[in-house]
Amino acid sequence: MKRRGSDKIFDIVNITILSILLVIMAYPIYFVLVASVSDPTYVNSGAFLLWPKGFSMLGYRKVFEDTRIWIGYFNTLIYVIGGCILGVMITMMAGFALSRKELPFRGFFMGYFVFTMYFGGGLIPFYMVMKTLHLTNTRTLMILISAVSVYNIIVTRSFMENTIPEELRDAAKVDGCGDGYFFFKIVMPLSKAIMAVLVLFLAVSYWNSYFNPMIFLTDRSKYPLALYLREILLTASTNASTSRELDPAAALKLQTMAQVIKYGVIVVSTLPIICVYPFLQKYFVKGVMIGSVKG
């Protein structure tokens, strides 16, 4: 097909704008990567733009010389895998139930869930409840704590309303299919797209979570990666003025490395998630879009 002049102009403008956007978004990531392998002195003065200056793996060496990082990786994997399985199951079930019109008190349950998006008891009451339930300082809590997000339930519900018609259920029923069988054998396979989205949402939130573990865990062998990395980072930026007893010379040495360690930590903590992303991406776009348009 012959392309018209206006098409070409559109293409050129389009490509230019998108290229600029690409650079704006990709450069910071690239900069972090470059800074993490540069010499601390240059990183502090910001003396490079495109290529690493004074190649040095100091940041990574400092991060990995801390053996606790492997404990952290192990714990994070447990929390991510456990949290994803549990979270996807619960969210799918809740989303499916809420998407069915015949569910008794459907409006009430929806309102009940949504209420928690706007109002909460606050941190200290929450802590006290967890303590009374004997869940503080347990791995179980770390898996339970952010498994359910009302936002995810709403996305799932909208998806199901659009893709699983009531008639499907009627047809299945005629063939003698019960609710459980219908959910596991028909609904789940038809909802792969939304499940991929949930896995990604949950995995990222579990992977990055540091606040809840920090508050609820006292046993350091249960700390996730994010918490150890945060510690390494803050260790490095310990300021001479805040610790009266620390020899400022030692504090300063740490401080010079702080920037490099910071970039090293960013790479170490985000690389695994970035690696998983491309595999889920095709579902991701589809899943979220479907959920967002209500028929």
Binding site: N44, L123, A240, S241, S243, R244, A249, A250
Partner: protein, 525 residues
């Protein structure tokens, strides 16, 4: 009452046995008991099980007290401690609690003064505190209660002088001048640094003669006011906004000396002799300038803390440096009290505070025990001379990745060890630790110019309401003054601006603020 009497008796006998031999093994006096103690975990510590430390092993053996430690890293301390205070109190906190937290949660902390709990169970601690000029008052709240015990050293000589001015000797030689001794000579030297190629790299324009920095803990602008007799008791700018003279709290930022200092600083900035980025740069930018070899003069702890040994050797201390009329004062305080008064706090959850106090008292029972608690086993990082003085040593087990600082925080508690009096301070020898020794040597040159003890405010706890009254005033006052200093230094000052400044000071309650300290000094609250 009977039980307490027995406890006291046992403590005394235990103490007598331990005192003579310096922490010798004493059999457990009572049944074993376990306490939960939340402790600050220093980032430099490489062993998170504190029970591996010699001092705690000995203390457990001697007192039967086992501690279940809850290490909390300094990064998480604020959030976690507040949660603990609200809902999950341990038996005690070590190094995590500040004055404000006690003030706001009085009842969460046990009053050690009631029933003479402290005096009965911790005689060594009490006798150490009583050596201070204000005795036990130092840890007593206005309501007469004692909610915490002290950790760390009473004084630390090397900290007294805060940031010290150093000048590059190589640059001085290049421009053929001597170390300046007053502000006029200083100006001439800076001018020469600026106009000539002082660092000898062929470029006469890349020199920054004088580099203070607001982002650095000890290089702040008020240090520059020292030659005019204006000096704070610590390195913060705010501490230099008032001074005590002959029992009177006087203002500094409304004086002619202060104005002269601003005019002088503006002259330096306008001629390019002082870095005008000093108010805006980050700590990282500041340190990279220092390391690039373009700075001729700056404030620091010691050049050895900032750069390589060969570079650091090029710097010399600028000793006394006045406005020509002998006004010189140095930022810092002589014999500054440097212990933490809220280091060890027993909470109201603790069921056997007497036992926990005995354990703490055991750790305070002798100089040997205190230093074992502070730096680890005797003969490694410290030892005692025949004349009884303590000396710091360098242990053999150090590597590049396990420095002396790691050692001190791994085998001992350093600042969280039991209270060490001024007389017990350790000596640092040149051959053992050159950089620490060098710092002390530099402080010696200036120590007599630091704020003397009689001109320092006494240290005591005040009614939390009074404190919040002061901090309320400080928000606006401090931001006004620091803004005024920055604009005056950068843009200059004239009579009209000065008059406006004086009237603005009234508006932001400067006099009320000074008056608060006057009343504090006069013990009116």
């Amino acid at each position: 009452m009977k039980r307490k009497g027995i406890a006291a008796l046992l403590t005394m006998s235990m103490v007598l046995a331990a005192g003579g031999t310096g922490g010798a093994v004493v059999s457990a006096a009572e049944d074993p008991v376990t306490f939960k103690v939340a402790v600050m975990l220093n980032p430099l510590c490489k062993d998170e099980d504190f029970n591996n430390q010699e001092a705690y092993k000995k203390a457990e053996e001697a007192t039967g007290v086992h501690i279940e430690w809850i290490p909390i890293s300094s990064a998480d301390a604020d959030d976690k401690v507040n949660i603990m205070l609200a809902s999950d109190l341990p038996d005690a906190f070590l190094g995590l609690i500040g004055e404000g937290q006690i003030a706001n949660n009085m009842d969460s902390f046990l009053d050690l003064n009631q029933d003479d709990l402290l005096k009965t169970n911790a005689p060594h601690v009490v006798s150490d505190y009583e050596k201070l000029s204000n005795g036990l008052d130092i840890v007593t709240w206005p309501d007469g209660s004692i909610r915490s015990l002290m950790t760390g050293r009473q004084t630390s000589y090397e900290n007294d002088a805060e940031g010290i001015m150093f000048i590059n000797k190589e640059w001085l030689d290049n421009v053929g001048m001597d170390v300046p001794t007053n502000i006029d000579e200083f100006y001439e030297v800076m001018k020469a640094f600026h106009d000539q190629d002082a660092n000898g790299n062929g470029d006469a324009n890349d020199e920054i003669p004088f580099e203070p920095s607001q982002s650095d803990w000890c290089s702040k602008i008020m240090n520059v006011a020292n030659p005019w007799g204006i000096a704070g008791t610590d390195s913060s700018d705010e501490s230099a906004y008032k001074m005590v003279k002959d029992g009177k709290v006087t203002g500094t930022v409304n004086t002619d000396e202060f104005r002269s200092f601003l005019e002088y600083a503006h002259k330096l900035v306008s001629e390019g002799l002082m870095d005008k980025e000093m108010f805006s740069q980050t700590s990282e930018q500041y340190h990279s300038k220092i390391n690039e070899g373009v700075v001729g003069c700056y404030y620091t702890w010691s050049p050895y803390a900032d750069m390589s040994e060969s570079e650091a050797q090029k710097w010399v201390e600028v000793p006394v440096f006045d406005d020509g009329e002998g006004h010189y004062m140095k930022t810092g305080s002589q014999d500054k009290f440097s212990a933490s008064r809220t280091g060890f706090c027993i909470t109201s959850e603790c069921e056997a505070p007497d036992r926990l106090l005995q354990w703490w008292d055991y750790l305070s029972s002798s100089t040997e025990m205190k230093y074992t608690n502070r730096f680890g086993p005797q003969g490694e990082a410290w030892d005692i001379n025949e004349d009884g003085t303590v000396v710091e040593l360098i242990p053999d087990s150090l590597t590049d990745d396990f420095t002396i600082e790691n050692y001190k925080y791994t085998y001992g508690m350093t600042g969280l060890g039991t209270y060490i009096t001024k007389e017990e301070n350790a000596e640092v020898l040149e051959e053992n630790s050159f950089t620490s020794w060098y710092r002390i040597d530099c402080v010696k040159q200036l120590h007599e110019y630091c704020v003397p003890v009689e001109n320092q405010l006494p240290i005591r706890f005040v009614d939390p309401e009074k404190t919040s009254e002061r901090t309320f005033m400080e928000t606006e006052l401090f931001s006004y003054i620091s803004n005024f200093i920055a604009t005056s230094v950068l843009d200059g000052i004239d009579d009209a601006k000065w008059e406006e400044h004086l009237s603005q000071l009234d508006a932001v309650q400067y006099n009320e603020w000074l008056n608060w300290y006057q009343e504090y000094l006069d013990k009116e609250f």
